[in-house]
Amino acid sequence: MAVPDIKPDVKVDPGDLQDQKISSYRSPLGVTHTKTATLEGFTTESGFQFDQLEVSYQTLGTLSPARDNAILVCHALSGDAHVAGMNPNTGRPGWWDYHVGPGKAIDTDKFFVVCSNALGGCAGTTGPACSRPDTGRPYGMSFPSITIRDMVAAQTRLIEQLGISQLFGVTGGSMGGMQALVWAAEYPERIRVCVPLATCTSHSAMQIAFNEIGRRAIRSDPHWNEGNYYEGRRPAHGLAVARMVGHVTYLSAFSMTHKFGRKRQGPNVSRMQDAERFAVESYLEHQGESFVERFDPNSYLYLTRALDDFDLFDRGEAAEIVRRIRARFLVISFESDWLYPPAQSRELVRLLKRGNVAVTYINLDTPYGHDSFLIENPPFARVLGHYLNHEYRRTNP
């Protein structure tokens, strides 16, 4: 891929809110908290039965008296339930604080926002790091396979517990976008608006390949120990490498050139034994290390498998599945996203339109790669905000 010309008028993004060192950032929501819901009895697609599931979730804003203003936000691979507001445990803002809050694209003055940690994750929802009820020891690799549909099934139970029979909307990017698609296709009566961002209906060989590099890095770490590392040292090195590879795929040649170029750390003439020579190297090192502190390596294996296995249309003819959809759609892709390229979104849009779904599609030319939906991005925020507000007014005149 050719490195694009440097455009001096384009502001270099400060990165997403989860991994950057952000000290000056203040959320207009102040400090927000997550809660935990308990779901009694849950069977996965693979047939595994949980007596109980714990689901970590956050709600922002107020549910309207008609209970018709709820928006479910689904996080991507490395996200969590803490979508916006300052997290008192980490001192960091929620991962989508740029776009969720009072007066923001997803306006918490208008909408009741729900975000839950995905099943199989490691931030409060039941996952491989949790204790098995029968042994009292962590599941590790005895945790059942998890699918995107399982994640959504757990969300439907949470939404029921919150007393919401129909969501106004479901949105999310990447893995979150896949969940939004499942909501529209499998629970057509429970969602009015679907906004999948930078996502696809199934992974390509390239997307699977990058995930497999990450998984292999974790499994080949000597501390992985077939997933039984919870009492000893964790496969931190493997997870850090997985994150480094992943992070590169979320950026673009443009954003890397702008952030780092060939900037060096320390002297211009470095010796072979110096660990880091270029700025991009220490950036990736930091990405890997900070990720290790907050993410469970086994969760990384389970969630990336769920991503790779996902196929929205593996249960019948695409046209037949699309015909069931009742929701209206806004599909957004980013021209510089080479991990989930616009062609995948266009194919999704084609299938939806051929099924007579009302779809608005925009391919924004934001130059920051797959991360474009996570960062401060005014053109993206404007489109998302206007769409949600118009659609809400359309159904509630």
Partner: protein, 192 residues
């Protein structure tokens, strides 16, 4: 584009019909159609900034290049397909009209008449590529790829088996009835 063309199209389209507007721009006209005729409308536009303007108006809009075809739409999905102001900018306009007839029952096209008197005089007297009210850009900056006249358009329709059901011709002062190929600056036509 001549504002009379928009007024004419508003007249031609019955209430509550479904309309696909190709090259919808910022969506101003499509919004007028939605509001005054309660149509079910959708726009196609290639410029993401203009697509964003359409979203701000609450329109259903698809970012795409008409030249790539209309494969995303099923056959007979719309009552009307509009191609206003962009016809002469398309590399293969006849193929797009064929696609428009696949997805729509009727097609409304507007174009600039290159046989207008002032065009003819400029070529004849000055020997240079004409610039007029409806052809405002110099040859090196125009987006027009084809230069056709009303008679050219009629010939093409005849060859393609397309019937012109209605036609309206305009110059800056208003509607033209007499000698349209000589006097009309812009033409809008409803095809079946």
């Amino acid at each position: 584009m001549n504002p009379n063309i928009y007024r004419t199209v508003l007249d031609w389209i019955p209430e509550k019909s479904s309309v696909l507007d190709l090259g919808t721009g910022d969506g101003a006209f499509l919004e007028r159609l939605v509001q005054s005729k309660q149509i079910r409308g959708e726009g196609v536009e290639k410029d993401p900034l203009l697509v964003a303007r359409c979203v701000e108006r609450g329109l259903v809009v698809h970012q795409g290049d008409i030249a790539d075809g209309l494969d995303q739409y099923s056959s007979g999905a719309f009552d009307y397909v509009l191609l206003l102001g962009t016809f002469q900018e398309l590399m293969f306009p006849l193929e797009i009209i064929r696609e428009a007839f696949r997805v729509g029952r009727e097609v409304i096209v507007s174009y600039v008449n290159f046989a207008h008197l002032s065009v003819r005089l400029q070529v004849l007297l000055h020997g240079r590529t004409p610039m007029t009210r409806s052809l405002p850009f110099p040859w090196y900056r125009t987006r027009n790829l084809h230069f056709l006249s009303l008679l050219d358009f009629q010939d093409v329709c005849r060859e393609a088996g397309i019937r012109e059901v209605k036609r309206a011709c305009f110059n800056a002062r208003g509607a033209i009835r007499l000698l349209p190929n000589l006097r009309a600056e812009e033409v809008v036509t409803l095809l079946h």
